[in-house]
Each structure stands twice: as C-alpha cells, then as structure tokens.
Amino acid sequence: MRASRKNSREIVEAGLARRRRKEAAFRASGMLATAVGVIFLGVFFATLVMQGASAFKQTFIKLDVEMSASVLAPDGKLDLAYADFDGLVRNALRKEFPDVSGRSERRELYRLVSIAAGYQLRDMVAADPSLLGSTSTIWVPASSNVDMLIKGNIDPEIDESLRPINDAQVAWVESLQENDRLETRFNTALFTNGDSREPELAGIRGALMGSFYMLIVTVALAFPIGVAAAIYLEEFAPRSRWSDLIEVNINNLAAVPSIVFGLLGLAVFINWMALPRSAPLVGGLVLSLLTLPVIIIASRAAIQSVPPSIREAALGLGASKMQVVFHHVMPLALPGMLTGTIIGMSRALGESAPLLMIGMVAFIVDVPGGFTDPATALPVQVYLWADSPERAFAERTSAAIIVLLGFLLIMNLAAVIIRKRMERKW
C-alpha cells in the first residue's frame, strides 16, 4: 500500500515538467494571437488617422476684396442671385499678382481659390449690404489642389505633367505663403456641408443627418417590436414545434447577408408600398428588419437570465403573468435588452449594402431635413468618396470613417456603461 502510494507520487512529479511546458506553450500562443490582433488593429487605426487627420484642416487664402459696385451691380441694381461675386475674387487675385497676364495664365491663377469664395462673399453682402463699395480683407478657402500641396499630398518636385497643379501655381502659392496670406484652419465645412463635387466643399453633414433619421426609425420600430417578440416567445408562447421553428428562423435571420434585406426593402417598401426612394424612412425600415433578430436574441437571453426564483416569488404572491413580466422580469432584463439594442443599432449604423439597393447611394448635395428627404448614410458616403478620383476625397474618406468609428465607439461604450450601471446583483 505504502509503496504504491509513493510510486504514484513519483509518477505525478515526473509528469509535472511536461505539464508546465504545455501550459507555457499554450500561454505563449495565446499571447501571440492577441498580439497579432492588436498589431493589425493598431496598423488600421494608424493609417486611418494618418490619412484622415489632415481632412479636419483646410487651407485658406487671405484676399483684399473690393466689393466694387460696378462688378456686382453694373446696371445699378444688386441682384444677389446673379451678381458676379466670382468676378470680385478674380479681381482680388489679379491685384495680388499684377504680373500675371494672358487668358490661360490668369485662369490658372483663378484656380488657386475655391469656388466657395464667391458664395462666401455673397453671404457677406447679403448679411450686410453696406459693404458694397468697400474693400475688406477676408480669408477664403483655397482650392483642393492648393490644399493638397500645402498638406504635402502633392509633391511639387515631381514632373509638372504628373501633378494637378503646375509650376506657376506652385510659385504663386509660395509667394502667398511668404506674404503670410496662406493659413490652414479647422475645416468646419466638413461638418456643416452636404456632399459636393468640389472636395473642399464636401462635408458629412448630409450623410450624418441621413444616418440619424434612419437610426431613429430603426430604434422606434426595432426596439418595441423586438422586445415584445422576445417577451412573447419567452414568457407566453407555448413550447411547441411552431415556437421551435420560429426560434430557428429568427436565428437564421440574424445570419442573412444584409444585402438581402436591401432587396426585400426595394421590393416591399419601394415597389409595392410606393415609399420614396433614397429616403431615410425606407432605410430605417430595412435596418429595423436587419436589427430585429439581433434585438430579439439579445432580449431573450436577457429574459432567460432573470432567475426563476424571482418569477416564482411573484407568482406565489398572486401576481398575474403580466404583472410578473412587467414588474419583475422587464426591469431585470432591461439592461440586457438595451445593450442588445445598442449593439444592433451600431450594426445598423455601419451598414451600407442594403442601402445601396434602396437608392441611398445617390449624389445628394442638400442636407436632409426629414424622414422622406433624399439622403445617404455615413458608410455610403464613405463608399461614394472612396470611389472619387480626386486626391482630396481620399483624406475625406478616411475622415468620414474616423467619424463613423467615433460614433460606433460611443455607442458600444454606452452599451458597456449601461450594462455595468444597471446590472443588478441578486
């Protein structure tokens, strides 16, 4: 007896080294896997920030603009819609560079400044008509090519024919810089403008509002329907072959490729119900179909995690089924339901494929003001800009992605906070 016990101890001790080796190897491989993941994530964020950060800045040029009445109102009447504000900008540029002569040279010169400059002057005069006839020093946005040059995205050393900005223009920019007439500032246009063909005018506000209206529709539909379905399935539906079938289908629905929901939306909401194309309303409807299974599954899990002893306690006191659900199960399951909803919403916010199918991929300049205005969404805007050839749209693409990720981060953070804050111990 004794001998055999000693023997088994020896066997155990002999095996210890091997066990420790195995454990160390497992740990090392786990750390390696984590490191690979973290590195990829780091590279992703770093390139994104490197490419996108410059889009939050915009180059401006200082011009002394004479609001000459002879240009704006040649026949004595000022009509803001037709007045030649661009002419004022051109005059100011010519005054800044008096040596530039010849039509084509001058045209090159005019290209330094964004067409936004004319709009800016119009807005100034509209706000204060007394400016007419005076000269004011204002900062106007530079064209995207100048902006790219200043930000170092265009290399002035390479052959002239390979860059969108010629030697003369580079020289003018340098001279502006020497005279302190060139500056980069925060790019407010990125957040206040809708889409535009001119990169320096293009902003994400239209897409942001489109996404906002869509998410409102999605939350308003998917949350109540999803929670109600989950409560019914968990608390009231009799267990039967039917409820099993429904359960399997809901789980399948969560795995259906999102573009299929877009096709469904196109067929049902636009072709059959004749709702407007490109509208956040339809987008929201499609996205609620998409998030519904996510919310139902999360809510059911939340309901299941409510201890049965709480239900029994309430039933034992004479609470009806409804009272048990609404007084006890719902409050305890709510954090889980909300978390599921927010995760579903962040998935909806990042979704682009189904929106392509319902026409939310159109080029839309105006910021949508309601649920039926034509709109795009943030991820679709990313797709649109990524498709544009201009160099300046590349940085805006990255900027839009940064903003999108920012929102996703906030939403997921909210989910974590809700879970931490509201979760009760029992």
């Binding site: 709480i310 306690a313 034992g316 609470a319 007084h327």
Partner: protein
C-alpha cells in the same frame, strides 16, 4: 389499524422470501433493494397508514395524482389539513413533497408538462375549478420558498408588493401600516426599520427568509406553504424561523416541507411521510416519531432511508 400491523410484521424479515406482487415481478433489472422498497409499498395496497382525516378540515385533497409528462410524481394522495394546524411533509428527496405542496396553490400550473387530477378543496371550494382564478387562490395560499428569494427591490417594496397588486391598502398610510405589522410579525421590524429603502437582497440569509415570510403574510393569506424554508440557513437563523412558525401557527394553516426530523418534531402537530410519490403515513407528530406504523416511515425517521 390491526390489519396494517399484521402486514408490517409480515414485511419485517429483511431477507425473507417476500413474493413480489405480480405487477412488479417482471421488473427484474431494478435491483433487489429497489424492488424490495417498491414491494413494501404495494404490499400495503395504496392505502395511507395512520389518520388522513382530521377535525375541522380546511384543505382537503382527494385522490390527487400529478404527472410530469409520463412521470407519475404524486400517486393517489388523500389528505386533510386542519384549520390553523401545522403539518410537516417529510420524505426522501424526489418523493414528491414539493410537487404536492405546489398543488395546493396551483404553482404547478406554470410547469407545462405538469398535469394534476383528483380534487383539492380549500374551505369547501374546489381550487382547480375553472371559475377560480389562481391569482385569487395564491392571495389566500401564500408560499415561502427553499432559497430566500426577495425581489431586487427595497425592503419596503418587497413587503408592499403583494398588498399593492391586490389593492389591499387604500392609501399610503394603510400600506405603511401593513408593511410594518407584517415585518413585525415576521420578527424583522427591529432590524430593518431604519433601512426600509435598502435592497432586500442586502440582508443576511436568515433575514431574507424572514423578509419573504413578511412579504407572504402581508397579503393576509389563510394558508402558508413552506418548502424547506430553513435548508439554506444556519442553525441560529433556523431557530428563529422555527419560533416564528410557532407564533404564526396561531393564525395560519401552515404546511411545511422539511428534511429535518427535529424541525418537524418542533413545529408541527401532524406529520405526513411521502415515499416515491405516495403518502405512506400521516399522523400526529409524536405518534410518527415514537411509534411509526409503517416500516418505511420507521426506516426513514431512524435514518435508514435518506
């Protein structure tokens, strides 16, 4: 009575060649020990030994059977429970004590596979009749569970919940009064009166169980069912609950499931012994513990079955 005595003697010789009843003869693979137990039950027929009837009966079960799907969990139980009496249900695990208890307030309704046959009357009314709402029944037949299960709400709200849903209090003052008297009766008021707004889940196990009792009596029931109310508690907390049961027995009919013979002896006036879904024996507490009629009861209380 004499008849059971004789049969019991017949069953006494442990190794004796007791002829298995025909019904069970085919069930060879059950193993000798298991078969012997079954034989003893069948030997008595399906009759319960002792006195199932009582004076002034309040809850009367007649030929109650419970099935969980194919599992016949309660077999033909007939039992009368008197007004303001404490009756203890004892028996080995899985013998159906909880199942029978849950029949009395229709908690089995929420188990889909459960099916109850036979009749149970409360104060002369069939509690399974279709015109009786289980909600109303449970207001009259309260229940205290094995594991203390206060709601994750304040102490006050725990006790006030029942009166609130049944509309027992006309105003806040009346509700306050109900909460205070209930806590007082449960012997908890002194300990919690300064922290009524704190969560009930923050109390100790024994306090939680007394909170659950307060919550139950706040609805002013006539019967209180207790399913092993002390099995999750330490001896001191157990002693307090037992004292409490003693006090409550003046006003309530109490049916308590317990695993502790001492507890049954201390708190109950009658004891019912269950075995494999059958009510084997029921009688006055001291009779059961000093002079059990049935071999199975004797085996159980002496610790041979457990």
């Amino acid at each position: 009575m004499t008849e059971t005595k004789i049969t019991e003697e017949k069953a006494m010789p442990e190794a004796g060649p007791v002829e298995p009843a025909g019904e069970f003869a085919a069930q060879k693979p059950n193993g000798a020990a298991a078969r012997k137990v079954v034989d003893r039950v069948t030997e008595f027929g399906e009759e319960t030994v002792g006195e199932v009837r009582c004076e002034n009966p309040f809850v009367i079960s007649e030929n109650v059977n419970v099935y969980y799907g194919d599992n016949h969990a309660i077999r033909d139980v007939t039992l009368e429970i008197g007004r303001s009496e404490v009756i203890a249900l004892i028996g080995p695990s899985g013998c159906g004590k909880s199942t029978y208890l849950r029949c009395l307030n229709r908690m089995n309704d929420s188990i889909e596979s459960a099916r109850v046959t036979g009749t149970i009357t409360l104060d002369g009314r069939d509690i399974y009749s279709s015109d009786l709402d289980p909600v109303a029944l449970r207001a009259r037949v309260g229940m205290v569970f094995q594991k203390p299960n206060p709601f994750p709400k304040s102490i006050y709200d725990n006790v006030a919940y029942g009166p609130r849903i049944h509309g027992l209090a006309a105003d806040r003052a009346e509700l306050d009064d109900i909460v205070h008297t209930s806590l007082d009766r449960a012997g908890l008021l002194k300990e919690v009166k300064d922290r009524m707004d704190e969560p009930g889940t923050g109390l100790s196990g024994g306090q939680q169980q007394r909170l659950c009792i307060a919550r139950t009596i706040a609805v002013n029931p006539e019967v209180i069912l207790m399913d092993e109310p002390c099995s999750a508690l330490d001896p001191i907390a157990t002693a307090r609950i037992e004292d409490l049961i003693d006090e409550l027995s003046e006003d309530y009919t109490i049916v308590i499931v317990t695993h502790s013979m001492q507890q049954a002896a201390r708190v109950s006036r009658r004891v019912a012994y269950f075995h494999l879904g059958r009510l084997v024996e029921v009688d006055e507490t001291d009779k059961i513990f000093t002079n059990p009629q049935h071999k199975l009861t004797e085996d159980y209380i002496t610790g041979r079955i457990g």
